[in-house]
Amino acid sequence: MAENIAEKLAQKQREISIAEFFEKNRHILGFDSSTRSLITSVKEGVDNALDACEESGVLPDILIEIKKVDKDNYRVIIEDNGPGIVKEQIPRVFGKLLYGSRFHALKQSRGQQGIGISAVVLYAQLTSGRPTAVYSKTGKDEDAHYYELVINTQTNEPEILMERVVPWDRPHGTRIEVEVEGTYVRARKQSIYGYAKSTAIVNPHARLTLVEPNGDTEVFERVTEILPIEPCEILPHPEGIELGTLIKMLRYTERRRLTSFLTNEFGRIGQKTAKEICAKAGIDPDVNPSDLSRDQAKRLLEAFKTVKIIAPSTECLSPITEELIRKGLEKEYDVDFIATTTRDASVHTGNPFIVEAGIAYGGSLPKEERIDILRFANRVPLLYQQGGCASTHAVEKINWRNYELLQPGGSGIPQGPIVVLTHVASTNVPFTSESKEAIADIPEIVDEIELAVRDVARGLKNYLAKQKILAKRKEKEEIIERVLPKLAEKVSEIKGAPQPDIQPIVAKIMGNVLVQKTTEQNDAACTVTIRIKNFSESLKEFKLHEVSSVEIEDSTPKPRVSSFDGSFDNMWKVSIKPKSEKKVRYKVKSEESANTSPLVEGILAEMVTGANALPKKRTSE
């Protein structure tokens, strides 16, 4: 009986094509709601276009055009100025799932698995029943090839419906046209417009032109002519490699000695480290790697963890850089303050990664809404599943009340005029699902994002503190420059008495050093008194100068006198403690000298009231 059932089942058991699988599970690839499906179609096309341009060193110039076909269907056109695709490859690039150039490479790129664009082709034929049209041209003197194709879902192979050479005025590039079911929205962040705007922020070297269904055209202009540094491929790093992978590598390597295997198949392992690893694992360094048992492989893996191996090379990564994140935010937002940071590279499960963050504050950002978090992974905006993303979790952990933002309960996404940007660049960004909308909560990554966001938040805090001091200073200036003089004038007017000198009070309010000069005329000479009072909180040391046309007399204390151009520079060294007072008194037989303002040297102008401060050291000595 049992055998019979097994036999029967065996008749039904057959291979499932990957294309068939995705036909049934398209939500996994980001084709769930009709709004999102349209965005995903655009996103996959633009990701490919940007990757292609950057790999060939061309400044991307990408057209995104959405046309309404009928009630539910839209025609999506993505055109780039990239290197084009050679004729033979076109059908497979677009008409075969899991076909691509980047899956095996350990370097940072937007697309990875070779699923994205062919999934769009599949989605198009499923929802509109129409084939995908592709134009491609690899050079000025080459022909432009035109294909119409669909995917045979049973075999996961392209089916070409039409193929011909067409005239195309572009020197090189690729254009894809798909007709898909979808809904076009504009108002929110989760829209094609929002996607284009976000993409423009983190790809400041790209020009994106968006033509919307109503004919509106928006150009997101590039702000730099410099392409991001092209990341290069690297060897796998021993840290975080899994046992199965290691066993596979050992079995198929062409190396005949273990040390040679270690130094040639992994990054960051030299002769010395290789020997150390072998010693730790208790394995002969000269053994043939393919002879290693499972147990030995396991010991090798343990040794990777205990021996100190330098972090993986970061040449495979291409961060946006602090400067370009700033430029990107600047061009898309009208704000008062921006801080950006690019952290040093770290490693998660053997993959190097770099976290970058930016914060934009004030300006025209709404004050009473939750802050916007712009999440990016390998320069691709993440629009959905914000709540499930490591970037969001890192932002939520921070106490934003320190930054004068509303944060009910002391955690979670705060409210305020802020945009936070996070970017994770890695050879392998761990997404929570194949639709690549949320980064998984790998502790190393969450920590790095949190540190990056804290870093830019600190910048914001300093800015806000400075603004506060400025506001306070401004307030004090209003008091001393506008109100106090008027008050002194008014009370003396009502009282019918001479106006009091408000300088001491000005010095007191500002916390300054007061230098108050009074003169008394008696017969031939003037008695000059200079009162110095320190209203600040710290000891002040400076030089006091009085310039006179004749020599001064009877001075207490005695000044140091030097003469220049027929004048005399009388200098006293002053050292004065907080809240204390000193006096300089002398006689002079010239009224003119008695009425000039004293000069001070070695103290900031804004710290003194009643004297002119010299900006630099005098050279007359």
Binding site: E475, I479, V483, L484, K486, I494, I505
Partner: protein, 374 residues
């Protein structure tokens, strides 16, 4: 003629004392400048946390807490500047024997540039500040409020002393026979009134015009020999001062009849205990002997009155009264807590649900008997 001259002489002397007191404030600011102190003025803190009961006068007055208006802050500096402009103006007004209304003062400040008041409540507060510092009243500054239209009606004959263009004249008025149905309008300066004679047994002060008219239409004043004072909402100082003077001089009991909601209890409190805003004048304005007739929250239950739901603001106001020292009596605590429980309020005119005569035939006589007045 001689009496008139004396009166003018007394006035001049009073004005000169006022000027000196105002100038003392200016002196103080000037002296602080000379002594190199950041100028400031100290004024008693005007919140419910800084009022205390004065055993002697039995009213609530300001406590010892003081707030400084200091040039250390922009607000304080502007406040001092505005004070000095205001004092300059008042001094000139006193010199010229003229007067102005609170509203006029606000408009006059239009020309003061930096010292201009932003809104009338600000200039009103400034005058109150100056009253508190000088321990004088705004009448001494020749500043008066707008007439607010509060009236009295009942068996009393009063004498007005009116000064106009330096001429003083007298007028005797009976507050039933010589006035229309609207009653005698209370002037802003009731200290110029003399009480000639009366036939009243008590005074009833009423919050709303509708209830006042009801009592007059029903002949309550003649049936019970009572003077009916219309408070017109939160009573003006002159109304409160008149109640106090009649209570003290004529030894007439005062009862207060208001709606049954938290705002009305505050009306009673300002009549009987003194208001928080003008606690510096409580001894001059409050009538500690005044009694509350109703509407009490317990009346809502006892007389089964039609009600409205308490608003959130009402609830907050009641809760605030529970921490107001003026309401810290067993009576008020019980009544306020009862109302918070009921979550309802009633107007005085709700008695109309029992017929138009119910309030004058049943409710008020019952309550007046309770209070031992009839």
């Amino acid at each position: 003629m001689k009496a008139e001259k004396d009166l003018l002489k007394i006035k001049k002397e009073k004005d000169s004392v006022t000027k000196q007191k105002l100038l003392k404030i200016i002196e103080s600011i000037y002296d602080q400048f000379s002594r190199e102190q950041i100028p400031q003025l100290l004024i008693p803190t005007r919140t419910k946390s800084n009022i205390e009961f004065n055993e002697e006068s039995e009213v609530w007055v300001y406590g010892d807490r003081e707030s400084a208006r200091s040039c250390k802050t922009v607000r304080g500096a502007y406040s001092l500047l505005k004070s000095s402009y205001t004092i300059e103006f008042l001094k000139k007004q006193l010199d010229e024997s003229r007067s102005s209304t609170l509203r006029e003062l606000y408009y006059i400040s239009e020309g003061w540039k930096l010292a201009k008041f932003r809104e009338q409540p600000e200039s009103d507060r400034m005058i109150e500040d100056l009253e508190i510092i000088t321990e004088l009243q705004r009448e001494n500054f020749h500043v008066r409020p707008e007439e607010n239209g509060a009236t009295i009606f009942g068996p009393i004959r009063i004498k007005e002393n009116v000064e106009r263009r330096g001429q003083v004249s007298e007028r005797v008025i009976h507050c039933v026979d010589d006035v229309g149905e609207g009653g005698y309008q209370i002037p802003y300066n009731v200290d110029n009134l003399d009480f000639v004679e009366h036939d009243a047994k008590f005074i009833i002060a009423i919050e709303t015009g509708g209830m006042r008219d009801r009592l007059i239409e029903n002949g309550f004043d003649t049936d019970y020999d009572t003077i009916i004072v219309h408070l017109k909402g939160q009573p003006a100082r002159s109304t409160r001062r008149l109640l106090k003077r009649m209570n003290e001089r004529l030894k007439l009991p005062v009862v207060v009849f208001t709606d049954g909601d938290p705002w009305s209890y505050r009306i009673f409190a300002s009549v009987a205990y003194g208001s928080i805003k003008s606690a510096h004048m409580s001894e001059y304005l409050a009538t500690p002997a005044a009694q509350f007739i109703g509407v009490r929250p317990s009346d809502i239950v006892n007389y089964d009155l039609p009600t409205d739901k308490l608003s959130d603001q009402d609830v907050r106001a009641l809760q605030s009264e529970l921490t107001d020292p003026r309401f810290a009596t067993d009576f008020w605590k019980e009544e306020i807590n009862l109302q918070l429980e009921l979550k309802r309020k009633s107007e005085q005119q709700a008695f109309a649900s029992r017929g138009l005569d119910y309030v004058t035939d049943v409710y008020l006589p019952e309550r007046l008997t309770d209070l031992g007045i009839v």
